[in-house]
Symmetry: D2
Subunit: 381 residues, 4 copies
């Protein structure tokens, strides 16, 4: 099953909202950008018959269905792409892996560690059969962040001393914005920490190549009550979170996530400081990587604004000539490329992050929550 | 013929190099982004049989051919998309218009004003038949530049006093880079002025809504000789150009184009100064529009970095939630959207720029060249 | 004694190193910039006779001495300006206040809370006699930061939700940089937290007008051992520190201080997020205040780069026409201005921060250290 | 007379308005910043007895007078510092030089080339006697611009290809701002070109080390009529100007000056492009020099934001530790330093620019005006 078929690879996508639209764009464009196996958008799955039919037409899927179990076992489906809310990830992913399919699962891996552990188990078994179980931390495929990782891996920053990461948005600044499932613990799991803080922590680990070993955390619900259908309701997840992290390579990191940062639209910022250099990045300027080489004479040192759009840069072979800016969506095509190449190679290890990485990240988030529960004291992993 | 058919609209694309790739991406994605008539990539045309076959497969065109005349007269083709070098534009565009097709022609309209005038004539006749003849000055569809135009049109800047535009690249800084057809007058027409300066001048006119009435110009060939196959050759086009422009609304503009600007990758910069406000833009940060509102108290005045990614902004209804950056390629999808809507509406006037705008721009470029020929003295249009 | 004398006010300055040079510049220039009482640099005090003599000549002090007790009791001295290391502040300040002098004491107020409390007591008694006891948190007089505070106080940001502050330098990145008194707990008190983190925390409280009520903290010594005279020595203070702070107005703040931030030279950064607006500031661009007004239509919202050099801005009446940038040193002259005006008015309350503010800040720093000692758990004030 | 006296050097300053205030600050602070001969502010000269008396007190001059001829011949005066409007420069400077004094003359050297030539003649004679005749193009002493010049001189940019300079302000955007002497040709000589464009052109020549050999220019009066005392009056100088310049080293430059650039406060911008590197600078961020080293691998290339505040940087030995920003005024102290050192060394050639440089610059400005008079055609120097 995990042999690449001679026909084009078939994808079944579960869910077609924001993430489904982005993934559709990736499947639509990856073949024109990169030299990858042919891929077809076979079937899209949703709960509402009419809505999923419209989505199929709009997003260019050959078929649609409301029966995800049927979709994931079709013989002409090779890859199951899970874009549902997190609480549905485990059931679908495990079933798809057991059906012998490659899986791409949007982040977060699951809403809790128990589910996540079961997914990891299923992925381990599937991996032995040559199946890829991929986790969609797409920002790892933003060229500038991949370039950042490469610079660290090549030793250009020396020993990493300290990292600063933050993910700031303003989506909840309006105190009169109403309740939603994202603001309830039972449906959302966690708030800013899990939804966007997770990206920041993933980048810390990805770019430095170091794993978190202990944390101190604080969660806050700055607006604790919001209008519900029947009057005011309690917000039961965090809208801002902070943590400091100890990394196994000796570096220290701070991370901050907030949806109360007025005027910050989608600011995933990363700063990495090493003995021989430093890096800065902001997702709002995603083509730019700021690199300081501390080995040049001090009179010439400064952060250089490198436009990561050169042929020499990661993933740029698929896109446009130098100086032509990429957008947020291109990272999804880059991710699809890497997945298709891993499938083609029959090498699950060629794609990361995998489900085990997702579980490890979930444990960091859980540790931050546990630390907050003891008023911020250290929790080790 | 110019009635929108009940089947999906069919496109024939002539040329499949850099611009052909970008246009293919637009046709591929426009339907998923916007509510437009369905469109199909029917046939791609190129001179080399094998290469065009590969391009068709890679870029997702249903068929390919080396016979552009056959392609543009197919009954299942409604739109002819011309992505060839400029010297082929006139012949193909006129034939396609005469065949009753809508035409999208990449800039520059033509290599000289005579050809351009013939194209305008053909477009005028076609327009009476309901056909759209569109010119691909795609940057008009970068959301931030469209927003800039709207702010000026709404009077937010007051009376426009002065404009500064420049387009700086570094593609020719290497003095040992060899000769190419782009560096010979007989094949390229002009150099930096026509290739990139034209974008800057188009933006000056687009954003201000004012037309150039007189110019003073200077052209330069900073590296006059480059290695050719048989030894050094003369570069016969400009690699840098400057002009000042008088506009019919009373504003003055300066424009500068260069391929000798070391380290500037694709810097189309625009600054517009009015009695009540000002704007700044740089294509290297294409999601940002810097707006200064001079009507607020002076203690609060400053250029605001507006991320043009809000639902309220032009074209954003088709893309991602606020704060998710767009790339260079999205402007091509926006252009395809506007073309398809004009076709659907049967309203050629709904799309601009048209061929007449292209001719008018060509006349400005010619005037700058003429001014340089008289050592920089004023040439009126 | 606290009556303003008819002769020029006389200053005695104790210490003439980095801070003494900056204070001298302030006393030298304040009278030319502002309409303040005349002031004369009477006497400078140091421990080394020859060095202080040279300093007096170089920095323009009329006399010099090695006897600070004699200097602070001179009848022609009205203001005692304490620029010594922190462990000498208490003794000198208390003596000067008891001698009836106005006192300007560099930060930190003292090396520990006990000394600080004694200084507050002395200041309280002196204040009843009309004497000013001023603490030199000079960054409060950077015009952009003062403007930030005013915007918050005027309600332009609405209710403050969240604050981010950091002070990043790279002065200790070199692992082979040797030991110094600043790296030993017994002489320095604390490290990055006390030396630069204190500035960041002072700004959080100053700009928001809110006081810290509880903290969670972490200290680190990223390079724990450095070359000493007789081989490796232990570094016994922090070189990086992090904390989250609860403020009495309901806002939450994070603060980070580091001397291990490669390539960051003197980056005191502040971000303030409120329900109706937001602010950003960086001391490396000290003439700029970035202000976002969230009450304008969302399509126009963005952080505005306000150059705080207009006549309408704080302290600018003393300096240059609009657009002429100020430097770090000007804040010291602004501080001297405010001190002289408070002295002239006979109104000690007209100057802040005072010694009590310094003690309150010291208690916040102590709470962060105490929190770190309990592995990061909350410590209330 | 040109021997440095054993007593402190005495300065007589003529004029005490904006420039007089800045020069006073320089004389006041230079001795504390740098190791230079002692200098005393002997006498300040103005036309109004009471006003000059107040200025003397406020700015710290020992004496004042309304008789400049008496002031410049005093035996205890060694340096005559001319801060008057330009039309008075020639008479005073020539008299001072003939009286054996060193002279520092604010820019512009004179209002016309004839006066300037006479000044050059007087300076040449004085120079033979060891007297310094210095021209106050102070921006040459902004550390970042001096560093820029050094990088070019050291060959770090390779061969200079192209330069872009502009000086943009918004001081005349308000169409209802009234007439003043600055807007009349007979009093001001020229407008934006002479007042601020001259700075931009001086920087082009200073940083590249190349002299202008030919120009094409355009002048404009965007607001041609303004309210006068007795109704509308004609503005008879330019409020915006543009030129392209040929340089004797083969580079081409563009320059633009405007007082109609809404929201631009004091934006002297410079861009220098060479075969091996590039530089960018903006006076509104005067501590920053953006340097691109085109010899590093392309994947790492970008403009580096170098904070020119390191001990290794020009003039920084006199100021504060790294990372402490300088302001506009510090350049005046740097200028005073260089003048005093030239005086001390008895070496007039040690200071540049001199009067001949001022005359050369005036000729460039005149050529631009002459070019505009022939509708922009080339005028050679």
């Amino acid at each position: 099953m995990s042999q690449t078929p001679s026909r084009p690879l078939g994808v079944a996508m579960i869910g077609y909202a924001f993430m489904g639209r982005a993934h559709s764009q990736a499947w639509r464009t990856v073949g024109a950008a990169f030299d990858v196996p042919a891929v077809e958008r076979r079937v899209v799955v949703g709960r509402d018959e009419q809505a999923v039919a419209e989505a199929a037409q709009h997003l260019g899927w050959q078929e649609h269905t409301t029966d995800w179990r049927a979709a994931i076992t079709r013989e002409d489906v090779d890859i199951v792409d899970i874009c549902t809310p997190g609480f549905l990830h485990a059931e679908i992913a495990i079933a798809a892996l057991e059906a012998g399919k490659h899986v791409l699962c949007e982040k977060p891996l699951a809403n809790d560690a128990e589910e996540a552990a079961a997914m990891v188990e299923a992925a381990r078994a599937a991996r032995a059969r040559g199946q890829v179980a991929a986790l969609g931390h797409t920002y790892r495929r933003v060229p500038a962040l991949r370039r950042a990782r490469d610079l660290v891996a090549e030793g250009r920053l020396g020993r990493i001393l300290q990292v600063r990461a933050s993910y700031l948005q303003d989506w909840l600044v309006d105190e009169n914005a109403g309740m939603s499932w994202r603001l309830r613990a039972e449906t959302a799991g966690s708030g800013a920490l899990g939804d966007i803080g997770s990206h920041a922590i993933d980048q810390i680990q990805f770019v430095t190549g170091q794993a978190v070993t202990a944390v101190r955390g604080r969660l806050a619900t700055i607006v604790p009550e919001r209008p519900g259908r029947d009057g005011p309701e309690q917000v039961t997840v965090d809208d801002a979170a902070w943590a400091t992290l100890e990394l196994d390579g000796g570096a220290l990191a701070s991370v901050e996530a907030s949806r109360m940062a007025t005027g910050r639209k989608n600011a995933l910022e990363l700063e990495v400081y090493g003995t021989q250099g430093a890096l800065r990045f902001d997702l709002e300027s995603l083509n730019e990587l700021w690199f300081l080489d501390a080995t040049v004479p001090v009179a010439d040192q400064g952060f250089s604004r490198v436009l990561v759009t050169e042929p020499e840069h990661p993933y740029l072979e698929g896109w446009w000539p130098q100086g032509h800016m990429l957008g947020w969506e291109n990272a999804f095509s880059n991710q699809a490329r890497d997945l298709l190449l891993a499938v083609q190679a029959g090498d699950p290890a060629a794609f990361s992050p995998d489900f085990a990485d997702g579980l490890a990240l979930q444990r960091v988030l859980d540790a931050i929550i546990a630390s907050d529960a003891v008023h911020g004291a250290t929790v080790s992993l």
